[in-house]
């Protein structure tokens, strides 16, 4: 793979589940290493399906998805998925949850422990290793989930509305932490969200999707550069970008009250 090759490439992709209606129609997309792409749109527009196609959890109906120069399934070693809820195994401690991907790949115990400890301190939970998930708050659980995803130093991180269930303050803080983690573990991100300001804060590209069938409606570049600080949210150009994306969303769901 050349440095300039896309890490994710969709070509004329269509997707339907079984004999059902078209979920995604004619999706074309090239993501390059370092991109942080957010996908936003009304429910039923297939944004989560885009992630499933990249992860190989669900195959396309026609067209092609290439990930890191190979098929989505073969590229699984280079990607990690962060789900809508933290999906921690409740019977494992925080430490063991973070170790899980390494354990499933048969890495030696010492390496597992050391990596998991490093990842936990990266997300500020060095002291919580012995806790069980039910003892953690929603925000902490999501941090553990992020730590777990980063144990294998993935090139590509797929995030399916990871902060949707959190309060706004926690969500903002985790947005900032997620961006700063990229300096330690530089990953390309595909991020599904319902929040316009979250998308603007995180991404360099925002893809606005429409439903019935799911398709790309418009792409908005966000050229604030990185690193980004919390104060970015207060700047007028940030608000202008939020307005621009919101207007595009109104085009695809005119009846919605936003």
């Amino acid at each position: 793979m050349e440095a300039n090759d896309p890490i994710v490439k969709f070509t004329a992709l269509r997707k339907r589940y079984g004999g059902g209606p078209l979920v995604l129609d004619d999706i074309n997309l090239s993501l390059h290493p370092g991109d942080f792409a957010s996908f936003i749109g009304p429910s039923g527009c297939g944004k989560s399906t885009v992630l499933k196609l990249v992860s190989g959890l669900s195959p396309g109906t026609s067209g092609e998805v290439v990930v890191a120069g190979t098929t989505p399934r073969r590229a699984r070693d280079r990607q990690a998925f962060i789900f809508q809820d933290a999906t921690l195994l409740p019977w494992l401690t925080t430490q063991h949850n973070v170790e899980l991907p390494l354990r499933l790949r048969g890495r030696p115990t010492e390496e597992r422990r050391a990596t998991a400890r490093r990842m936990l301190s990266l997300v500020g939970l060095a002291a919580e290793g012995k806790y069980y998930p039910r003892q953690l708050s929603g925000g902490m659980k999501m941090r553990v989930s992020i730590a777990r995803a980063l144990t294998l130093a993935p090139q590509l991180l797929l995030l399916d509305e990871p902060f949707g269930a959190l309060d706004e303050m926690t969500r903002n803080r985790l947005n900032e932490e997620l961006l700063s983690l990229r300096t330690q573990s530089p990953f390309t991100a595909m991020f599904v969200t319902h929040s316009v300001s979250e998308a603007v804060f995180l991404s360099n590209r925002i893809i606005v999707m429409a439903a019935n069938p799911g398709r790309f409606h418009a792409e908005v570049p966000v050229d604030f550069g990185y690193p980004r600080r919390a104060q970015l949210r207060e700047r007028p150009e940030f608000q202008a970008k939020v307005n621009e994306v919101s207007r595009l969303l109104h085009q695809v769901e005119p009846s919605a009250i936003a």
Binding site: L89, L100, R134
Partner: protein, 264 residues
Amino acid sequence: MKKVRPILLWTLPVVTGLLLAAIWYGIRATSGLTSWIMPTPLEIMAAAWKERPRLVEAAGNTALGALGGFLLAAALGFAISMVLGASRLMRASLYPWLLVLQMTPVIVLTPVIVLWAGPGMPGIITVTFLISFFPIVANMTQGLLSADMNHVALFRMCNASRVQEMLLLRVPSAMPFFLAGLRIAATLAPIGAIFGEYMVGNAAGGSGGLGFLVYSYNTQIKIPALFATALTSCLLGFVFVAAVSLLNWAVLHKWHDSFERHDH
């Protein structure tokens, strides 16, 4: 759940028991039934005290048979569930036949059990096993199939093998189901053992268990002693259920929501 004051958890069952005893005495007093047809709770206690050496010895023998059948049911139930949980084809091939086995009245099988497993303890353990293993299989299989779909996706994303998915994901998430099955089996095991003793155990002779005492007291028309046997068997059942509750606590209290404290 609404919080119940701990004192009520102990006193309410006692109050219910006293009420039932009062009704019992009422029926006895108004119906004119005699002591050997409908003994009062106190007469049953007296009979239990009088027969205590035989009851204790019999309870010990029954406990042994019940424990043997219960452990066999737990082990085989666990193993069969893993086979059923691993593949849809296995489920399709085996599950209907497990149902057939469960629906066959054990009483029909008792002569065959005596012939195949042998009289005495082997037969008793077989009967106990047959009676108590289905709830374990049914619950555990359901548990294996009920693993969180996102957890399954997580394992797939990590390229986990089928064996890893079974042992590290499906089995742990099925533990609450397995333990629920064990709890039902724990109430059935002493009943199964007594039934086994009654049907297949007597052929072995010897002192026998509670099932033998049922037979013996029945033929001697010692009705209060018969009730005392039932009481003993209930106590045995409570011991089994308590043991499973302890196991349940040991396995689940650290992580399962059913042990969530409500003080935060």
